[in-house]
Symmetry: C2
Subunit: 351 residues, 2 copies
């Protein structure tokens, strides 16, 4: 039997269509469930830290992972100055392939999807780390991913007040406009200190590729959960080291977070807990109401594996299936050369 | 100024069109020149060994590389049993991105292109390693890549006799049929020993993922150049270790070949020469006519970097430019969320 060689393709518009059709709440619920289920079967995956190529302007990374059935990888960049060129600071796409043949079955945009899955992963962690009945969240950094964090924490965790700060006031205005349809109190703030004061959860999601100190120790009240999203590559951190030293740290994949997370500021033997252990029940999350917890999130390949599977399933359920010719369709797979002789008729030339 | 977010796309048919239009000889000449020029500026590149995920059936690999201007990576699998499913054993695609923004500017098929660039790289090495006036080459393994090796060595190195062997006689027949237009003597052989006897160059390009011994010491005559292409991942070798011990070994990128090449059979301190040093003039290639030389080729990311640049330039020169929407086109790059609200009108649904 001949296996198809067409690769399914999902564009940003396709992903937007899936979200529109299912609704944001249901999409985030289902996606977070896919991610959580995959974290629960952690040992089924062949994992590695991502490989990064750096320049002074930014970083480009590849994030592969596989289990016995599927292989996925994500391509993702981080270029803080990109907004000057009209480009997102983070752009991504990914591929899902069959492990038994290597056939790339799906190529999908992951810029929009990464925003969704990062928010879903943040909620997955906050469910076991934030205080029960948390209702207020500060979001420091109101860029491209901020609305997705807001929506996920509102729909999935019951957050009813969002305290917003960005050094770019226009970003905060945009965020408020985009969230104005929610039954949520939206509070624009003039400083980080004002934003975090009284918040049950603090989400930091800034873009600068520097060792910044977005949060300093005097801002941190007992019992707060910090959802640290923006410190995610070497030389890019957001939290003062003294905050880390006084908190319980939770990570996705320890070897990667030691290189890329807030954790890069700490000695190699500083104890952290992989969040999957808390989900699996083999380690404790929050143990008391005064504890400061930090989810030092850098983004892990497993989350993209879950997302690619989810978006493929969602697209199939909505009949959204188009494809591109990435792999040659050969009558005899040992006869690659025939393509040179036989393709002139098939050629479609598009300007 | 807004940077375009369309990603150029080249399918296998597009690459075939480029080869047909330019001609195989000119394509191989130009591509080999791009590869050679990039090997000459070796130190300009940020290099790493590829990352591989293995199963019992095969392997999937990512091969990234960058210089100050461009980042490229290749996705490539190796699944020897794929022909049973009507799929090539090796399938590949790659991406070229701008280093200063991370924008993926080109996604291209690399199955056909890999066959071309591997042949070009083999010739690049043979030019400095094979005996001058070599006229006869044996090809052991007459699968998908064999014709490309034959064509490259004929057009670029003057090979006039090809001695062909494969355990699958149908593969040899196919190879002979595909090469019948060439002014070359094509000799089907009933054994490896018969094929290699008297050949100036031996190309091994078999697919089995085992430690095979395609060539044994008694087959090797003084002065021969072995172009070892099929031993290219851990546990996949083609040459008896005693051949290696009596030969001069040349490699692409030493850290990678120690893991993946024939070199995996030898102690870690066994001396080898990176082929770029011979090209640059800082090391010697062949020094006398009785020397047995081996190019222990595993395929290096730099060759794909060169190939992606070459195919993009070739496509542009032929007006062959189509694109896919892999990255969202945002009016305000900080407003990714707007995509959810604004995309329903833009959606093109293709079955």
């Amino acid at each position: 039997m001949k296996t198809p060689t067409k690769t399914q393709f999902l564009s940003p518009e396709d992903i937007a269509y899936i979200v529109q059709t299912k609704g944001m709440k249901k999409t985030l619920e289902e996606l977070t469930d896919y991610i959580t289920q995959d974290f629960l079967r952690w040992d089924a995956f062949e994992k590695s830290a991502r490989i990064a190529n750096h320049t002074s302007e930014g970083v480009i990374e590849l994030m592969p992972i596989s289990d016995k059935d599927y292989y996925t990888f994500k391509y993702v960049n981080g270029h803080p100055k990109n907004t000057h060129f009209g480009l997102p600071t983070v752009m991504a796409f990914g591929v899902l392939a069959a492990m038994n043949t290597g056939m790339p079955e799906l190529i999908s945009e992951l810029t929009l999807t990464t925003a969704l899955r990062t928010a879903g992963t943040s909620v997955m962690a906050a469910r076991v780390l934030a205080r029960k009945n948390s209702t207020s969240m500060a979001i420091i950094g109101n860029g491209a991913q901020s609305e997705f964090q807001a929506l996920a924490f509102h729909y999935l965790l019951g957050i009813k007040e969002l305290r917003l700060f960005d050094i770019d006031v226009a970003a905060t205005d945009k965020c408020i406009k985009n969230l104005s349809h929610l039954p949520v109190r939206l509070v624009p703030c003039r400083s980080i200190a004002e934003a975090v004061f009284g918040a049950d959860i603090i989400t930091t999601i800034t873009a600068d590729k520097t060792n910044a100190t977005i949060l300093t120790p005097e801002m941190i009240q007992p019992g707060v959960h910090i959802n640290g999203v923006g410190g995610d590559c070497p030389g890019k951190t957001e939290l003062h080291v003294d905050i880390l030293l006084r908190s319980s740290l939770f990570v996705e994949y320890e070897p990667q977070t030691r290189i890329e997370g807030e954790l890069q500021q700490l000695p190699e033997n500083f104890a952290v807990t992989e969040i999957r252990k808390v989900l699996q029940g083999s380690a404790k999350g929050r143990t008391h109401n005064d504890q400061v917890t930090i989810f030092d999130s850098v983004g892990f390949a497993l989350e993209d594996y879950s997302s690619l599977r989810y978006m493929r399933d969602a697209a199939a359920s909505l009949g959204l299936i188009h494809s591109i010719a990435l792999i040659p369709d050969l009558i005899n797979p040992k006869d690659l050369y025939r393509l040179i002789g036989s393709s002139s008729q098939k050629l479609v030339k598009v300007k």
